[in-house]
């Protein structure tokens, strides 16, 4: 949850969600819609500059958060790189076409992931949900999602403690005990989650809960300057990409 922690203390935390969403989505769109080179490199660079510059995301957090998507991207790109056929006996090959395609997914995957980080590392989930509420996503759905977010941390804490207690009594000693412990943990968690929900409901009822969870959302003031900068940045990427890709 390093990204989320970073979002809470981000200097961009109080920027309007719309601003940040527009920047992220515009970068994403250029990455996906324009020719992969040099667009992917440009938008990845733009995202990196934004993240490490004004958004002041710690490079270690960035590197750590990139690890797991990178694993998928590399595995996926490798699968694209290798061509298999079996018509005249099984054959494995790497062709110019597959290597171009592999580079494409590699570039778009990394660039796309970095673009999403712009939103993820600057906007806590609550603000995002408030944004969805303003965007007319049904109230009930937003409320469930916001409660999921809160309960998540409570449950993760419980999970950690139960696992440690199981490990202490050698419950993770071998495959058999680990499986049994995982089963007990899952079941126990479900019961604990349910009990928590029931108690939370009573706690909220005391404060007038009747099914709706009104929220005090700070007004999201869109910044013209920020939007202008976004348009300029994306514009530069678009122009450079189109010129750079040129007639091939």
């Amino acid at each position: 949850m390093a990204l989320d922690t970073a979002a809470w203390s981000s200097p961009w935390r109080h920027r309007s969600v719309a601003d940040k969403a527009v920047l992220t989505l515009a970068l994403l769109a250029t990455t996906l819609l324009l020719p992969v080179w040099p667009t992917a490199a440009l938008s990845a660079a733009a995202a990196l500059i934004v993240l490490l510059g004004p958004a002041r995301l710690a490079p270690t957090v960035l590197a750590r958060s990139l690890r797991s998507p990178l694993l998928f991207i590399v595995l996926g790109a490798a699968s694209v790189l290798v061509s298999v056929s079996w018509h005249d006996g099984p054959r494995v090959a790497i062709t110019a076409q597959t290597s171009t395609q592999a580079l494409t997914v590699l570039g778009r995957g990394v660039a796309g992931t970095l673009c999403v980080f712009v939103l993820a590392a600057t906007t806590p989930m609550v603000d995002l949900l408030a944004g969805l509420r303003r965007a007319r996503v049904p109230e009930a759905c937003v409320e469930v999602a916001s409660l999921v977010y809160r309960l998540l941390f409570v449950l993760l804490d419980t999970t950690r403690r139960i696992r440690e207690a199981q490990a202490a009594r050698l419950g993770l000693r071998d495959r058999r005990t680990t499986l049994r412990s995982a089963g007990t943990l899952s079941g126990t968690l479900l019961v604990r989650a349910w009990g928590r929900a029931r108690r939370l409901e009573e706690g909220l009822a005391g404060r007038g809960y009747t099914g709706a969870l009104p929220s005090l959302d700070p007004p999201g003031r869109v910044s013209i300057g920020f939007l202008g900068a976004t348009v300029a940045l994306v514009g530069v990427i678009v122009v450079v990409s189109l010129l750079g890709a040129g007639p091939r």
């Binding site: 809470w8 609550v126 909220l204």
Partner: protein, 290 residues
Amino acid sequence: MSHLSLEASQVVMSFAGRPVLDGVCLSVPGGSRTALLGANGSGKTTLLRVLSGALRPDAGEVLVDRAPLRHSRSGLTQHRQQVQLVVQDPDDQLFSADVRRDVAFGPLNLRLPEAEVIERVDESLELLGITDLAGRPTHELSFGQRKRVAIAGALAMRPCLLLLDEPTAGLDPEGVDEMLVALTRLEEQGATVLIATHDVDLALAWSTQVAVVTRGRVLQGEPAALLGDADLATRARLRRPWVLELGDRLGLADGDPALTGVRDLDSLAAVIDRERLSASGSRAAREEGR
């Protein structure tokens, strides 16, 4: 806030056929500080939930300023603006991702204009000395901080009566002191406070009246008298506060009217000192008279 009185009258409550409260009578006068004591499982928390309107008793009733609580929607809505319960585990009460949103929940449900909601939130945070936490995510708070945010959330409803279940449990000694300071502030603002606690020393030092839950009933009275009762302490799985116990051991209690004033370390030290002087004085007098 103005003082209201709260009363439980002949409250009966069972869970799964097991009686927990068996005709409980409790009266909390406006402006009092009540400590509710009792063993684990004695029904303290159940009683608090009945008083707060969360549970409807099988028999008996809850009265606020002599008016019985109705468990209709409107009755409960009204009750909740007067009586607020803060449960023991703050995670059972905090549902928002950040502190400000959580505290605002109650006032928003009262459909107050936004300006007043913000005013109430700020006031509640200030009263508990946690204004600096306003924008912080709930899951990053310490246990003691979460406890205070939970109280702020209840407070933002501007209740006349505040019920707190084990407000000091799990807090370090300084956290306990800070909590007591916060409670004192609430009283100064006109709230009547009832706490359920296991801490008999705290109960003696803090409360103006004590209520002990034992075997489904409640005994209510003057703190020193009830907490000094060795018989009752045994029956209720409690122990006597150490100042009373020590006073007894030292023979200070034998008809000593001064001891009725003993409720904490300071007052006990004063009594012992006084007794020392008079003892040596009288002994000296005796010696002289010999």
